[in-house]
Subunit: 161 residues, 2 copies
DNA sequence: GCGCATTACTTGGCCGACCAAGGTAAAGTT
DNA sequence: AACTTTACCTTGGTCGGCCAAGTAATGCGC
């Protein structure tokens, strides 16, 4: 009676893929939680990854960003336009290649780094609450396996580094 | 050297939340994979859940759908409008309550049920390839725990059934 | 040097998903 | 019966994300 996993009864058409269903639900909840924590920093869910990369990488070509976050180029373009408008990012033409665009986190945005770091570890703790170290490691391991699986044949992960 | 989990180096700002990062990546890859499998059935990623519920539930109020898939009402409205346009769903005013709308999967869409079922189990297999039964059960268990955690305080799961 | 493929981004369109606000109808209160 | 609250959806706007197609510059082969 009270034994169903979490919140929802599984639709019968999804019986063949309970884990997939769980992944979808967890993904959405996780994204929402991340969004709430990141809202304080003025970031929308998804933008964190881009900024995290830029904070590490410094001034860099947009193509590098695209490779790093592994999103559609058009997605990155639009995200960067918005991040530029909101003052988190500076873009400038690459003098060495007139097609390319150099991207860089603004000094302003760097002030958010620690906020985002805190938010991210807080999210992790919220996500993994009640799991001991062994379980966390196991979950990380299993997710890594799953990620590998999903990369294969989907051909979304660069085979060539 | 070749020991990093999957495809990507973790940004330093995300060091405090490796599992969260993995969840995000897996979520996106999983959604993409689902989308590819479901494209054959004429469904966009996300619509599966709605249709799965309707196939089980028959003619039902829109508010029931909203509760079941646990999405924003406005999201459901728009999805249903599109699903109606594409012929997967029929909507009609509820004679018993003039605010409400009754929703129902069309006969046409029911023909897709088996396709979606197959797609979903195929997705599951693709996702969990190489994991033995114990690992699968463990992953399911851990995901359920995580889901519980994310429901708390986010107050997105109905406390009240 | 010239043409052609490749690379690098942009634009437009579409969908899922959110929030904020609005409008209507039912239910509850007095 | 009139008023207020609550439930049920819709509309409009914004974002992340995808695809398809387009533009512009570079690089490569010849």
């Amino acid at each position: 009676m009270t034994s169903d996993p979490a919140c929802t009864e599984l639709p019968s058409a999804a019986r063949g893929g309970p884990v997939s269903h769980a992944v979808s639900r967890v993904a959405r909840l996780h994204r929402i939680a991340a969004g709430k924590l990141l809202k304080g920093a003025g970031l929308y869910p998804g933008q964190e990854f881009l900024m995290m990369y830029l904070w590490d990488a410094g001034a860099v070509r947009q193509s590098e960003v695209i490779k790093a976050v592994d999103l559609d180029p058009s997605t990155v373009t639009k995200m960067l336009q918005r991040l530029e408008q909101s003052g988190h990012v500076r873009r400038s033409p690459d003098p060495a290649d007139r097609r390319a665009v150099l991207v860089e986190a603004t000094d302003n945005s760097c002030a958010l780094l620690s906020d985002v770091e805190r938010a991210w570890t807080s999210l992790e703790e919220h996500t993994l609450a009640g799991l001991d170290t062994g379980e966390r490691k196991e979950l990380a391991r299993l997710l890594a396996r799953v990620e590998e699986n999903l990369c294969r044949e989907t051909a979304d992960c660069p085979e060539n580094r």
